[in-house]
């Protein structure tokens, strides 16, 4: 039961909500970047238990990838726009789908810098380290069968009871939209911002490119000019995904879920929780603009987004989700 990987692509990994409460061990959280699309993918296959790291999914970054179902399975894909086939039949994303045994799922194309979350109903027999199956390509923590999936890998997925054949579809307004121009992301002040005079202005006035020299730990951002500040060295301090560190005279670094747990560069800003999902659909060549906001507004937006999500979820699915079971 499960899938056999025919073509793995080079950015396909097992993911879930990541490692919780391990930062004191130097262990990154990892996990998916867009929790909302991760939850929708799981909801569509009637996975409703999000305690701990939650159910495993596949995160696919580039096509083409191919999987063979070795038993009938219920599955769903969410995230970026793309081109998908079940055998030769074109299929939609953001909906519940049913595969027969030996059918081949092909994710042919994915929007540039996109991310697809593929949920398959059942209990995934994948290695869980520190309670999570999330792969971390930069450390010994891995998901199934190594870090990134490879051709011929097999993921065993035990059946967990029948799901009725009705098809649920998430409405279009719940799909992640990506604009063609610079992407605006809201930020709050970081711990050392007040010691870096020019940076506050630069963050709101500059347009930032994402450098090719980026990884799952963080995006290196390019600027039109060099910015210096007086904070040239600092004691290694706590950093979190979504933080922007800015070495004097160097490139700012926007930290992602696989980021290390301590950093030695000034923490000038933090992306608000309500905008973190946007990072799943950005990458080299994209441009960002930042907009300052307050902590109060960030808390309000976080609450608003979570409530909005919960309302839609409860309308679509038979099993209600409660705010407290979401780790967002």
């Amino acid at each position: 039961m499960g899938i056999i990987v025919k073509k793995a692509g080079w950015q396909t990994m097992v993911m879930d909500q990541g490692r919780k409460n391990t930062r004191h061990l130097g262990v990154p959280s990892s996990g998916v970047t867009d929790l909302f699309q991760y939850w929708w993918a799981n909801g569509l296959v009637h996975h409703f238990d999000f305690k701990g790291a939650g159910p495993a999914v596949l995160e696919v970054g580039t096509g083409p990838v191919e999987f063979v179902f070795d038993q009938p399975h219920v599955f769903a894909m969410t995230g970026s726009a793309g081109e998908y086939y079940l055998d030769d039949q074109k299929i939609p994303s953001h909906t519940t789908l049913h595969a027969k045994s030996q059918q081949i799922l092909r994710i042919e194309k994915i929007a540039r810098n996109g991310t697809i979350y593929l949920a398959i109903r059942g209990k995934w027999r994948v290695n869980r380290v520190y309670e999570s199956a999330s792969a971390d390509v930069l450390s010994p923590f891995s998901g199934s069968a190594g870090n990134r999936l490879k051709d011929q890998d097999r993921i065993i997925i035990d059946q967990v009871g029948q799901m009725e054949l009705s098809t649920v579809k998430t409405p279009d307004y719940l799909k992640p939209a990506k604009s063609s121009g610079p992407h605006t992301i809201r930020i709050t002040a970081g711990a050392e911002l007040h010691q870096c005079d020019q940076i506050k202005h630069a963050l709101s006035e500059e347009s930032f490119g994402i450098s090719r020299n980026s990884s799952r730990m963080g995006y290196r951002l390019t600027t039109n000019q060099e910015y210096n500040h007086t904070m040239t060295s600092m004691v290694s301090s706590i950093v979190l995904p979504g933080m922007i560190q800015w070495p004097s005279g160097g490139e700012p670094i926007l930290l992602l879920p696989n980021c290390q747990t301590t950093g030695g560069y000034p923490r000038v800003a933090k992306i608000i929780d309500a905008d973190l999902w946007k990072l799943a659909y950005l990458g080299p060549g994209d441009h960002l603009e930042f907009k300052w906001t307050t902590r109060e507004e960030a808390i309000y937006l976080r609450k608003y987004k979570t409530q909005q999500f919960t309302r839609f979820w409860n309308k679509l699915f038979p099993e209600n989700i409660k705010n407290h079971s979401l780790t967002y």
């Binding site: 004191h24 262990v27 380290v129």
Partner: protein, 250 residues
């Protein structure tokens, strides 16, 4: 023992940070770990995770249960109760851990650089290095990377200008006034003085270890003991715990 000047701020929408002077000091980090313990013992509603770095303690909390202001009040009350003797009353007592280290040329990648920068012979460097007792301050940078305090100032040496792509697992490094141990192969810019054959951290556990179950716990006292190339080979793959038992029985 005195309390420290601190400030409390929101590190993010759901993280509160208490920050001390930006220095690396044993009394300061001991105080932070003691505060961490007291916060956990108090079982403050909504607190999900508390962790310490050199000069900061961060609390991640559930915003649906507690807000920043209330949590700040809770922390301030704890600080006002017994600010002076916190470190003396910690329940987790530091242990003495011995870590074998091989200083042979093929493991001391930055021997020449250290000799030239510190102005000492390598024999003297080795002597100073393993005579010293170190304190394990915190994990950071990598899963299980050990930041150790207590480096003799004569061994201080700036980081490499160009970091290496692949430092070997177990390498013991010096960067400025800090020393640390790479528990896994990784890129890095620390000056490598030697290597330990031991496994320092367990990357295979299905659940994260509690602090008490770690092979090396914060504030433990660490001593390096020199071993030969041959002895290094014989010890490869042993854990810190296995080695402590081994040296007790021999």
């Amino acid at each position: 023992m005195n309390t420290f000047n601190y400030q409390i701020f929101a590190l993010s929408e759901r993280c509160l940070t208490l920050q001390l002077e930006p220095v690396i000091s044993e009394p300061q980090i001991r105080w932070l770990y003691a505060l961490r313990e007291r916060i956990l013992i108090k079982n403050i509603r909504g607190v999900q995770h508390v962790w310490v770095t050199f000069h900061e303690l961060t609390i991640q909390y559930d915003v649906d249960v507690v807000n920043f202001e209330r949590l700040q009040d809770n922390v301030e009350v704890l600080l006002a109760e017994r600010p002076h003797d916190m470190s003396q009353n910690m329940t987790v007592k530091p242990r003495h851990i011995t870590i074998p280290i091989c200083y042979e040329d093929e493991m001391a990648w930055d021997k020449d650089r250290l000799v030239s920068h510190c102005g000492l012979s390598f024999e003297d460097l080795i002597h100073i290095h393993h005579e010293q007792e170190y304190i394990f301050y915190m994990f950071g940078f990598l899963p299980g990377f050990l930041y150790l305090g207590g480096l003799d100032p004569r061994l201080a040496c700036p980081r490499l200008e160009k970091p290496r792509q692949n430092i070997q697992k177990g390498s013991v490094g010096i960067a400025g006034h800090q020393t640390g141990v790479y528990p896994m192969a990784s890129p890095g810019g620390w000056n490598i003085i030697g290597r330990t054959p031991l496994d320092l951290f367990d990357y295979t556990l299905s659940t994260a270890p509690a602090i008490d179950d770690l092979m090396i716990r914060p504030l433990d006292r660490i001593r390096f003991t020199p071993v030969s190339r041959l002895h290094f080979k014989a010890l490869e793959g042993k854990t810190v715990n296995e080695y402590q038992k081994l040296i007790k029985t021999t």
